[in-house]
Symmetry: C2
Amino acid sequence: MDTTIDQAASYFLDLQDAITNGLAAADGTAFHEDRWEYAGKGGGRSRVLSEGQLFEKAGVNFSDVSGEFSDEFAGQMPGHGKAFRATGVSLVLHPWNPYTPTVHANWRCIRRGDYTWFGGGADLTPNYPFKEDCVHFHRVWRDVCHRHPLVAHHDRFKAWCDEYFFIKHRGEARGVGGIFFDWLHSATEAGLGRALAFVRDCGDHFLESYLPIVERRRTLEYGERQRDWQLVRRGRYVEFNLVYDRGTVFGLKTGGRIESILMSLPLNAKWVYNHKPEPGSPEAECLEFLKPRDWHNEPA
Amino acid sequence: MDTTIDQAASYFLDLQDAITNGLAAADGTAFHEDRWEYAGKGGGRSRVLSEGQLFEKAGVNFSDVSGEFSDEFAGQMPGHGKAFRATGVSLVLHPWNPYTPTVHANWRCIRRGDYTWFGGGADLTPNYPFKEDCVHFHRVWRDVCHRHPLVAHHDRFKAWCDEYFFIKHRGEARGVGGIFFDWLHSATEAGLGRALAFVRDCGDHFLESYLPIVERRRTLEYGERQRDWQLVRRGRYVEFNLVYDRGTVFGLKTGGRIESILMSLPLNAKWVYNHKPEPGSPEAECLEFLKPRDWHNEPA
């Protein structure tokens, strides 16, 4: 019989198809695919859509790799021994339209020795604030969590997301959050099965969490001012990913496939010295939205 | 009598004037100045020139700050005690023209307890290779080093530069190097005086190392292809500064003035998935130039 991580890997492979099919249909452009092999065992499928109709850059990665943890990394992980297997899907979507938010999601299953756990999450990064978008996104993830009360704790996973996606040197959140979770483990097959069911429910609802927002915003007209602000916010995204993101920094320092790791970076970003939005402007309001709030409890 | 670090601070203040005057004249645009105070004692003068004739973004910082090292930082530094004073000039210049290289330089004097030392260097980052530019830049720094045989060792400072400005995850140098040095200390006032004389000679020759290159390249015609390659290379610059640069990472993590620390980032940068220059193209030749070479011994 297949182990939980086998089932997870097979689900993640199908999930990448489902998500890229949905996004390609929304964009009207096909993804470019690169298959790659890992130095240990296994490999991945990187899919990227560049300069489409809807997306400036969209990357959706699948990987299933086995190998040995370095000593440094082994100390930060649960379980015993060096042998590991890690499989997952991760994606970052950067649309052209500054009114359409960037989104990131990742779900993964890792086994070390005989210890298996799940992690993941999804979070939204708007440049211009629309309350109904934030409320919609957070409600989808709250509802998914509520369907799995033995596994998922929405309040905790939401707070974890706000805490993780925080640009400390700016004193500013990367976006408006979502959910984040890690180390979802059980000692029984039944318990691991419940964790996998939760992660599948997450993956199955990703498009629902994001595409309705895209459809509302993708045709809004914008000009140089909005594009400029979007590029400044993308600079912040780069700062978070290169300075704080554990996956990115770990990948860069331990020889993962660079182009797949850095697929998350936007096509274009900008650093304007001492850029401060005018008080009362929509750009200043964006910064207000970045302060954590219980979006799922707000009236849309 | 003034201590060595007093003399260094006063020199650095004048040096910022001399360099920004020279650059403003070359550009035809004035620098914007911000004065700021440090949480401990002292402060700085940040000068930035954005979207001028010659420069897309040019930042020249002066600072003279005193305070207490954190425990983490104290362990990485020579000397004893927590009290420190640090003064220096640092600059990064990003020209518009893709044929004109980006340049970085920094000179600093730090005192911890009764232990004083100097550090610094200068390095060049072209997007398109011109051998005579690399040779010119390296010869200026070789000649400066050779005038101070009791302090400076050109071969070692050049190798140190190549080693430091290396983007490990890309297996690629940031640029074509220059010189880099740190912990230039002496137990005597005479020895510290010699170190200061070397650092002054460096500062006094910065414009000579760079402006002749600018004058040769600033009027070369370029198109979208060259601009695109420049933006991709600027993405690499961002990667180095945010992932590896000790000054940047330390500043971000310990609460320096963010806008002054990140003045080094380009106005615009780009991340194109799996971008590989065509073999034999000038862009591919640039990557050949990034392999360390004894430029100062090459015929120009």
